[in-house]
């Protein structure tokens, strides 16, 4: 790519960022995970809650007083941020587990129906649709040690769709068909597609004219945004035995020439953005890093699944700054808003932590979490693993995943507006909390 094209892409990203509070997943094209919004220092009340027809794992985005998000009921919703009133809903043919991106008056998002949509952000009217080769979950024989061992089993924890990033007149996203796509943001025409070896449900990030995204094929890729040519690839861990410790589900963040990404091989990696060489990694002893890191002021904020750790490490060295044990798996990504870090937990709570000490300042708990149907949680709100995961049959895992929904698990990443936090829950509600 020539210098002017890089400059044009960078400028486009900068313009898109400054024009909106949080127009795409992780706030900006580099996925910093930093919010310009002001987070409340105490929980006062649920300002409103917006019910949908199924679980919400999509994360909300916001611009000019409108909040957009997807639901597994197949709809993309636009809601008035002040009142919680529905502005429009657009029905797709499958669950919308990705987070929309807003740019130039259009909303972009993929659906479980295998189509990628561009809608008028104000009205929900279809601008164009692009058909991928079809969505699918990551799957493997006897995945996670489940039975039947020889059968291809879809991964119940492959919950997210790839969220698009928009820059330089293109929209970039990954797909269950193994490809990373670049489409013309105005017309929906294919500019290029890049084939990986497996499902791409991580969300691409973009910096300096390079698209960065991980695949479930165990590789993390850097791709020239203009041409679609591979610049480098980084190899994460593999797991030929039970296919548990493999794949990039976490979405990358880029800061100061370093790409930070979690991986199911239980590492958080820092990779040189120019060369693809590893700078450091933090190993989490078998616990997935699905949460996407946030990077600000020389620190990286991330969380782990099974070990339920909230962690802060030095961005240059990976040395620990802060580590706190939470109560349940963490898939949601931390959002840094001033001196507060917000984080969703699968036990149905949203936490606001002091950025310096890591202490929980306040916590919101969904109704499902309070009622605890099926004793999914222990009395002190840890995940009740010994009751929830009793056998290794595939069917039992599906039942466990369904029961987990009942406590209003928070997979969605919070969005911080002016004194209000918006987040989706598997109980089907989008909550506005102040």
């Amino acid at each position: 790519m020539n210098v002017s094209m890089i400059a044009s892409l960078t400028l486009a990203v900068a313009c898109a960022t400054s024009a909106a509070a949080a127009p795409m997943f992780r706030g900006d094209a580099a996925h910093s995970g930093v919010s310009t919004g002001k987070a409340p220092h105490a929980f006062h009340r649920v300002k409103w809650q917006f019910p949908t027809g199924a679980r919400i794992v999509s994360s909300p985005v916001m611009q000019d007083g409108v909040v957009w998000f997807g639901s597994d009921d197949g709809n993309i919703y636009a809601v008035d941020a002040g009142t919680g009133r529905q502005l429009w809903a657009h029905q797709t043919g499958g669950p919308v587990a990705a987070t929309p991106a807003i740019a130039n008056g259009l909303l972009y998002v993929g659906s479980g129906d295998g189509k990628f949509y561009a809608l008028n952000a104000k009205t929900g009217a279809t601008k164009w649709k692009f058909a991928t080769a079809g969505e699918r979950h990551f799957e493997a024989p006897g995945i996670h040690g489940l039975q039947p061992k020889a059968q291809m089993i879809p991964d119940s924890y492959d919950v997210y769709g790839s969220s698009p990033v928009v820059a330089g007149g293109s929209v970039f996203f990954g797909s269950g068909d193994h490809n990373i796509y670049a489409l013309d943001a105005v017309s929906g025409e294919l500019r290029w597609k890049f084939a990986t070896g497996d499902v791409v449900h991580a969300s691409p990030a973009l910096a300096d004219g390079v698209v960065y995204a991980g695949s479930w094929d165990s590789y993390f890729y850097a791709i020239d945004a203009a041409s679609g040519k591979e610049k480098w690839r980084f190899h994460g861990g593999e797991d030929a035995l039970v296919h548990n410790q493999v794949g990039f589900q976490s979405s990358p963040a880029i800061a100061d020439g370093i790409v930070y990404t979690g991986c199911r091989d239980s590492n958080l990696y820092a990779i040189d953005a120019a060369t693809g060489k590893e700078k450091w990694h933090v190993n989490n002893n078998g616990s997935w890093v699905i949460s996407s890191p946030a990077v600000v002021n020389g620190n990286v904020y991330f969380a782990t699944s099974d070990s339920s750790l909230y962690q802060v490490v030095d961005a240059l060295t990976g040395k620990p700054v802060l580590q706190q044990v939470d109560k349940s798996f963490i898939f949601s990504s931390p959002v840094v808003a001033g001196d507060i870090v917000l984080l969703g937990i699968t036990n149905g709570s949203l936490q606001a932590r002091d950025r310096t000490s890591g202490n929980v300042l306040w916590e919101f708990q969904t109704e499902g979490s309070k009622q605890n149907p099926g004793w999914v949680l222990t009395a002190d709100r840890h995940l009740n693993n010994s009751l929830l995961f009793r056998t290794r049959s595939y069917e039992a895992t599906v039942v466990a995943a369904t029961r987990l929904q009942g406590v209003g698990a928070i997979f969605s990443t919070p969005l911080v507006g002016d004194g209000v936090v918006y987040v989706g829950s598997t109980d089907g509600n989008l909550y506005a909390i102040e």
Binding site: L146, Q245, N372, G374, W375, T378, D380, S386
Partner: protein, 241 residues
């Protein structure tokens, strides 16, 4: 012999004072919100007069799980589930009840700090599922065996030592050395039809193997949770034991 057992049982009953007779098969339910559990509880006395029991809960894929801490004093009944529905170092899942009559009891089921009411009705004689017992091993298995397997790219060295004891089950030392030295607590060893099985319930690691005919190899499978790997044990340095 039968007379001695009966006398011993009578003595145990007498020592417990007002012990209630709760022997039998009991059926009912626990009212966990959103997940009512069907319960089948079998309680009986063993030859020594001690209570033994097991439980069936289909909703939790549980059949024949052993019970422990079984007590019946006056109208108060209590028992707990052994080895399931509990995290390490936590309180076991417990049932505490009152006998309403000879044939019904009601109380609270507590697990992981959560509590729900339950009721049970006696429907017939007990059918307790007794867990398999450890046994002695064949003489040719006694002594030390070594082997190696690889997990996640790292070699692990295994040493298994069988020791028989007069009139008692064999004991086993089960050591795995990888990044760390792990001396696994073995709580079950059984040899039947030529197959020997070692289980460490606490760690979740098992080995099952068979002596290869005409060789000094104990060939089998290492099991760690969902992972199964072939593991062949042999005598150290080709020694006889």
């Amino acid at each position: 012999m039968r007379r001695i057992v009966v006398l011993a049982s009578g003595l145990a009953l007498a020592l417990s004072g007002h012990a209630a007779d709760i022997a039998g098969r009991w059926q009912g339910s626990a009212q966990i919100p959103g997940l009512p559990l069907q319960l089948t509880v079998d309680l009986d006395r063993d030859a020594s007069g001690n209570w033994v029991g097991s439980i069936i809960i289909p909703e939790l894929a549980m059949k024949g799980q052993p019970l422990m801490d079984i007590a019946a004093h006056d109208a108060a009944v209590a028992f707990a589930i052994k080895g399931a529905l509990v995290e390490a170092k936590a309180e076991p899942a417990k049932f505490e009840a009152q006998l309403d009559s000879d044939a019904t009891m009601h109380g609270r089921f507590t697990q992981a700090g959560n509590s729900a009411p339950f009721t049970l009705k006696r429907i017939g004689p007990a059918q307790v599922d007794l867990p398999p017992r450890s046994t002695a091993v064949a003489k040719e298995l006694e002594g030390q065996w070594v082997g190696e397997y690889e997990l996640m790219g790292y070699p692990r060295h295994v040493t298994v030592t069988f020791t028989n004891h007069e009139g008692a089950p064999a004991s086993v030392e089960f050591v795995i050395v990888g990044k760390k030295h792990n001396d696994l607590p073995v709580d079950f060893v059984n040899q039947s039809e030529g197959i020997v099985r070692i289980e460490s319930h606490e760690i979740g690691i098992n080995f099952e193997g068979r002596l290869r005919p005409g060789s000094s190899e104990l060939a089998g499978t290492y099991e760690q949770g969902p992972i199964e790997l072939p593991l062949v044990l042999h005598r150290p340095n080709g020694s006889g034991q």
